[in-house]
C-alpha cells in the first residue's frame, strides 16, 4: 500500500457512483465478507474492472476516440481497497473453509459466566441473557472486556510462531517454516461436486461452487446457493 491514505483508482465505466468519497459506514480491520447486499452486487458486476486498475499509476487514459472514459480519479479508503484487492468473496469463502479444517469446535463457545443459570438455551437466548446480565452488573467498557478476553484466551500456535521469529535464523538451520513441504509440482486439481461428490465440470454462476450435472445444480440452487455470501 502506498503511503498516502487514499489510493487513486480510475474507474473506467459509465460514471456510476460506486463508492462515495466519504469513508464507508463500518470500516472493518481485515477483509471479511462484506455484508451489504448492494455492495456485493456491485462487486460482482464491476470486480473485473477494478482488478485491472489496482495500480496507482494512471494508465490507459486515452485508448481511442470512441471509448468514453471518465478521467475523474476517485479516492478510496485503503481498507476498502484492501478488501477488494486481496480476494473476492469466493476465494475468501474458500480460505475460510480451509481454516475451519484446523478448528476444534465448530460453533461459538459459550462463555463460562452464564453457565450457572442458562444451561440449555439457544444462541439467541443466551445473547439476550448476556445483555441482561451486563446491565445488572457494573458495565465494563468494550476495551476492558476485550483486554480481559485477550488475557484469558490462550495464545494460538500462530502467535507463538510469529514470536519465535524464525526468519532471522541463518539458512542452514532447519526450522519449522523450512520443514514445510511446499507447493506441489503439478498444480492441477480435480474438482468435486459439492452436492454428490463426483467429478464436477461445471461451476455455479452466482457463487462459484462446482456441480456435476443438472440435477445437482437444481438441488444447489434450491438449498444452498449464496447462503453464505449474500
Amino acid at each position: 500500500m502506498s503511503a498516502d491514505p487514499f489510493i487513486r483508482i480510475q474507474i473506467r465505466s459509465k460514471p456510476l457512483v460506486l463508492f462515495s468519497s466519504s469513508p464507508p459506514p463500518k470500516p472493518k480491520p481485515k477483509p471479511v465478507l462484506l455484508s451489504k447486499r448492494a455492495l456485493a452486487k456491485t462487486l460482482l458486476v464491476d470486480c473485473s474492472n477494478l482488478r485491472k486498475r489496482q495500480t496507482t499509476t494512471m494508465e490507459d487514459e486515452n485508448t481511442g476516440p470512441f471509448r468514453r472514459t471518465s478521467s475523474r480519479t476517485r479516492k478510496m479508503a485503503t481498507k476498502m481497497s484492501a478488501a477488494l484487492a486481496n480476494t473476492d468473496n469466493r476465494t475468501q469463502a474458500a480460505l475460510a473453509r480451509l481454516e475451519a479444517l484446523e478448528s476444534d469446535n465448530a460453533g461459538p463457545e459459550v462463555l463460562e459466566v452464564n453457565d450457572d443459570e442458562y444451561d440449555s438455551m439457544d444462541d439467541d437466548d443466551q445473547v439476550y441473557a448476556q445483555k441482561k446480565q451486563a446491565k445488572g452488573t457494573k458495565r465494563k467498557t468494550r476495551q476492558a472486556k476485550a483486554l480481559e478476553n485477550a488475557k484469558k484466551a490462550p495464545r494460538s500456535f500462530m502467535e507463538v510462531l510469529n514470536e519465535a521469529n524464525l526468519e532471522s535464523l541463518p539458512p542452514h538451520v532447519p526450522s519449522y517454516l523450512r520443514a514445510a513441504v511446499g507447493p506441489p509440482t503439478a498444480a492441477s486439481r480435480r474438482h468435486f461436486c459439492t452436492v454428490c461428490g463426483n467429478i464436477a465440470n461445471y461451476t455455479c454462476v452466482r457463487c462459484g461452487v462446482r456441480f456435476c450435472s443438472c440435477r445437482c445444480q437444481v438441488i444447489h440452487n434450491d438449498t444452498r446457493c449464496l447462503k453464505f455470501i449474500a
Binding site: 475451519a100 479444517l101 519449522y176
Partner: protein, 437 residues
C-alpha cells in the same frame, strides 16, 4: 505386590491420543484422548478417558485441546489431563521418585519448550526428564525387531495434527531433511464433518462421533475414477454405500455402523486394474446380499427419525485428501511428493537406503489399503534403480510409545536425563541443548 515397576514414566503427548505407561512394558497403561470436553447439558468438564466411558453422552460435546497444530500451547488444560492420567490411571503418588520420558514434536519453539519444562518440574515435580522425538523412537523400535542392522530409515508419521516424513540415521533424526504436511487426522475428521453436514445431517459439533465413523468406514481408493463410477450406481449395485447411526441417548449412547457386512462389501473390489462387473455381482451375491429382500429394503430406506446418514463416496474422498491436498484448494504437495522431497534433501548415498526402509506410523495410516496406494503413487517418482519398500508398523498408534519404552529400559537412559536440580540451577534453555533438537 510382587512386580517391581521401573520408575520411568513414558509419555507420548499426542495431539489426538495421549499414551502413558511405564518404561520396559510392551503396552501403555493409559491410551486416552488428549482433551477435555463438556457436554452441553452439564457444567462439569470430562477429562481424557471419561469421554470414552460407556455412559458418557458424547453428542454435542465441546472440546478443548491443549495441543494446537501439534504443539503444546495450553499448559492449563494439559495439566488437567496429566493430573487425571498420573493420579487416577497410573496410580502414581510420589512423582519425585520417577523420571519422565516425554515425546515432543519436532521443531518445538523455545518458548513452548520452556513452558513444558515448567509443567513437568514445577507443577508435577518429576525427578528427572528426558525429551525425545517420535521418528527416532520409531526407528529404534523397528530396528530392534528387524533381522539385519537398519542403519537408516524414513519414518512417515501421519498423526493427528500433521504428517512428517523424517529421515533417521542411527537413532538421530536428520532434521534438515524433515518435511511436514499440515494435514492430519483432525483435518480429515473436519473434512468428513463438512461433507456430511452439506449432504445430510448437520454434524459439525460431533467431533468424537465422526472420528469413530471415519475410523470404521473410510478407506483409501486405488482408482478414484472407478470408485466414483461405482458410487453413482443406485440400490444394491452400489457396494460402497453404508449407513452410520448416531446415538439418541435413549437406546444407544454410542454411534455405530448400521450393518458391518454392508460396510465391508467394498473389500471384494479387485485392485482397480480391471473393470469386471460380472465378478463383482457374483461376489456380492455371496457376501452382502443376505437373501431376504425385505431386509434389503429396510436397509436402503434411510430412517430420518433415527438420526442416521449414508456415506458413499465420502468414504474414500476423505483419505484422498492426504494424497492430493490440491483437490481441497490447499497449496501443498501430497504424501508421495513429501516423501520424495524429504529423501532428496539428504546425501545422495542415503537415497537408496531410505527408499528401502520406509516405515509408516501414526493413526491415520490405519485406513485400509493405505500402503498399497502409497506405493502406487511413490513408484513413478523414484528412480528405477532404487527399490521401494514400505513397512507398516503392527500397531501404528502405540508404535512411538513402544520405542520410548525400549529407550527407557536401556542402560544409558539415566545418563541422558536432566534432573530437577540441574534444571533449577542452569535453567531450561541449557538443559534442552543436551537433547540435540
Amino acid at each position: 505386590m510382587g512386580m517391581e515397576r521401573s520408575s520411568v514414566v513414558v509419555l507420548d503427548n499426542g495431539g489426538g491420543i495421549l499414551k502413558a505407561g511405564f518404561g520396559g512394558e510392551t503396552d501403555p497403561v493409559a491410551v486416552v484422548p488428549n482433551c477435555i470436553g463438556r457436554p452441553p447439558s452439564s457444567k462439569k468438564w470430562l477429562v481424557g478417558d471419561q469421554l470414552q466411558a460407556d455412559d458418557a453422552d458424547v453428542t454435542g460435546v465441546s472440546l478443548r485441546r491443549p495441543i494446537d497444530r501439534g504443539y503444546l500451547i495450553n499448559p492449563e488444560v494439559q495439566r488437567e489431563v496429566w493430573d487425571r492420567v498420573f493420579r487416577s490411571l497410573l496410580n502414581l503418588e510420589d512423582l519425585s521418585q520417577s523420571s519422565l520420558l516425554l515425546v515432543e514434536p519436532l521443531f518445538n519453539p523455545p518458548s513452548l519448550q520452556r513452558s513444558a519444562d515448567e509443567l513437568v518440574f514445577e507443577e508435577f515435580g518429576f525427578g528427572s526428564l528426558c525429551v525425545a522425538d517420535s521418528p527416532s523412537l520409531v526407528h529404534l523400535y523397528e530396528a530392534s525387531r528387524a533381522q539385519g542392522p537398519a542403519v537408516a530409515s524414513l519414518v512417515v508419521d501421519c498423526g493427528f495434527s500433521f504428517t512428517h516424513a523424517a529421515p533417521v540415521m542411527q537413532n538421530l533424526t536428520l532434521n534438515y531433511g524433515v518435511k511436514r504436511m499440515d494435514l492430519g487426522g483432525k483435518a480429515l475428521t473436519n473434512y468428513l464433518k463438512e461433507l456430511v453436514s452439506y449432504r445430510s445431517l448437520n454434524v459439525m459439533d460431533e467431533t468424537l462421533l465422526i472420528d469413530h465413523a471415519k475410523e470404521q468406514l473410510c478407506f483409501v481408493s486405488l482408482d478414484l475414477q472407478h470408485d466414483l463410477r461405482l458410487s453413482r450406481k443406485s440400490g444394491k449395485e452400489n457396494i460402497l454405500k453404508c449407513t452410520y447411526v448416531l446415538p439418541d441417548g435413549v437406546t444407544h449412547t454410542k454411534g455405530f455402523v448400521k450393518d458391518l457386512n454392508e460396510a465391508r462389501r467394498y473389500l471384494s473390489l479387485p485392485d482397480g486394474t480391471t473393470n469386471c462387473t460380472t465378478d463383482l455381482a457374483s461376489k456380492m451375491g455371496e457376501m452382502g446380499g443376505q437373501g431376504d429382500t425385505d431386509k434389503a429394503e429396510d436397509r436402503r430406506k434411510v430412517d430420518l427419525t433415527q438420526n442416521e446418514f449414508v456415506l458413499t463416496n465420502e468414504r474414500f474422498l476423505v483419505p484422498e485428501m492426504l494424497f492430493q491436498p490440491v483437490d481441497l484448494g490447499m497449496n501443498q504437495a501430497g504424501l508421495a511428493e513429501c516423501i520424495v522431497r524429504a529423501v532428496n534433501s539428504c546425501h545422495p548415498y542415503l537415497h537408496p537406503v531410505l527408499f528401502q526402509n520406509i516405515i509408516l506410523t501414526g493413526g491415520s495410516t490405519l485406513f485400509p489399503r493405505f500402503a498399497q496406494r502409497l506405493e502406487r503413487e511413490l513408484r513413478p517418482l523414484v528412480l528405477d534403480a532404487y527399490e521401494v519398500k514400505i513397512t507398516c508398523q503392527e500397531n501404528p498408534i502405540l508404535g512411538v510409545w513402544r520405542g520410548g519404552s525400549l529407550l527407557a529400559s536401556s542402560p544409558e537412559f539415566e545418563s541422558m536425563c536432566v534432573t530437577k536440580a540441574e534444571y533449577e540451577e542452569i535453567g531450561s534453555v541449557r538443559c534442552r541443548r543436551r537433547f540435540f533438537h
